[in-house]
């Protein structure tokens, strides 16, 4: 057992898209201030599971979940939970960098502005803080009022991470955050993940085995909607318990 407390926990979680059973009886507990990686072949349910953690699937017609997901011991699908409050706590970074077609500054402070914060000083400070956290500050400090779309792909993705950090979440979900980036930008993001785990709980979906091995503390292997194996990353990559995990990790299928 780990000494750190559990930040996120799924208990008997089932998810459905209409009649399709996408997640089957998932039980998993993720540690606080650690990186958990989800791996598995396409369509295995890892992204679906990631998106249930901040309820991003709510807007999909016909999607429903059964079972519990606990954030700090509280069921996030409970009746008293407001989705916007949940998402302030659980931020998300997407596969393709998706900055808003606005200025860099507007991108970073968007989350704060929609909470009703208008104080220019508060916004400016928050923008600088989160851009420093993502090592983007020096690169963009002179062009805060330029369009975010003029940045390179890697910079855009770091901007998206800064944007997520600006509203001070405790959990950050990353859905294949480097799959659209070149190796150098990828390395920067991975470095960043390593630093961020001092303060945040990070859950990352990745198709890249090496990446999972490099950045994560725990790894979960999904297959056909089931959680096949969940263990310390080192353990999983050196001595997986299940044959399927072994085959996937060594590249024999997937």
């Amino acid at each position: 057992m780990s000494k750190k407390p559990y930040k996120l926990e799924a208990r008997n979680l089932n998810a459905f898209y209409g009649g399709f059973h996408a997640l089957k009886d998932i039980n998993i507990a993720m540690e606080e201030k650690a990186v958990t990686a989800f791996i598995g072949p396409s369509g295995c349910g890892k992204s679906t599971f990631l998106r249930t953690l901040n309820r991003m699937n709510d807007y999909i017609d016909g999607f429903r979940v059964e079972g519990d997901i606990l954030l700090d011991g509280r069921d996030i699908y409970g009746k008293d939970v407001r989705v916007d409050e949940l998402r302030k706590e659980v931020g998300m970074v997407f596969q393709k960098p998706n900055p808003f077609p606005k200025t860099i500054f507007e991108n970073v402070v968007y989350g704060l502005k929609i909470q009703g914060i208008k104080d220019k000083k508060v916004l400016t400070e928050a923008a600088e803080r989160s851009l420093r956290q993502t090592a983007l500050w020096e690169e963009v400090k002179d062009k805060m009022d330029k369009s975010a779309l003029a940045l390179s792909g890697g910079q855009q993705q770091r901007l998206c991470i800064a944007r997520a950090l600006a509203i001070s979440p405790s959990v950050i979900l990353m859905d294949e955050p480097t799959s659209a980036l070149d190796p150098i930008s990828t390395a920067k993001i991975e470095e960043l993940i390593y630093e961020l785990k001092n303060d945040y709980t990070i859950v990352i979906v990745t198709h890249n085995m090496q990446q999972a091995g490099r950045v994560s503390d725990q790894t979960a292997f999904f297959y056909m909607g089931e959680l096949v194996e969940y263990a310390k990353t080192k353990t999983m990559f050196t001595s997986p318990k299940h044959e399927r995990t072994q085959n996937y990790i060594t590249g024999r299928f997937g």
């Binding site: 991003m56 998402r87 998706n98 900055p99 808003f100 077609p101 509203i167």
Partner: protein, 285 residues
Amino acid sequence: MTNSDKNRLKDKAFQVFGIFCTFIGLVVLAIFLIDILIEGISRIDWDFITSLPSRRASRAGILTAWAGTLWILGLTSVIAFPLGIAAGVYLEEYSKKTKLANFLEINIANLAGVPSIIYGLLGMEIFGRILGLGGSLLSGALTLSLLILPIIIVTTREAIKAVPRSIRDASYALGASKWQTTWNQVLPASFGGILTGIILSLSRAVGEAAPLIVIGALAYVPFVPTSPTDEFTVLPIQIFNWTSRPQADFLVNAAAAIIILLLITFILNGIAVYLRSKWQNKVKW
């Protein structure tokens, strides 16, 4: 001859055919424009634009007609834009994809193809008689609003649909509500497209005579309307009226009025093109 030679020949043939078709359209339009210009341009002067209608062709002007047209444009905008945009946003962002929604969707698209005179009859009955607005500006603007609503709804939806899913995701993931996402991200990003649709629908409304004649807009209005409940005429009705007179001088007046009407339409279309290119440059994915 090899196959690839044949294909190249076909390619060439289609190209020539395409150029020919394009030219037919342009030539007809050019002949029409030149004819109208030759006939009407000399009649346009300050007096023509600022004079009231008259039974004598040489003294008749289009003041009441273009004033009526501007009134109708303004009122129609105020009525149709909020309704059309709101309906488009609702259908695209909020409504669940049920059978009813599907049914509504198909019918809205169909409504855009209903002949305008049918809208005139509807407007006459509902706004003119039941609401007692008669042949007033308000009655006319409401009728034209019905006419262009389907166009605005359809173009609004298309513009909203073009905003990538990823932008909405980003906004939701930061804790934004549906409304905040729509207002802060989706509408600004689709504004260029929506505006283009709006202006093109207006330039359609500006050329309509039939529905307004049905609701009782007059050909002879000896005063400039000052409130939405006043009776009115518009340029197309004035033109229609003049072309049906036997005297040749009135035909010249009609040609001159057509030039003014075309000018208004071209300006509206020009604004639409300008806005579209401006917003396209600003928003790139």
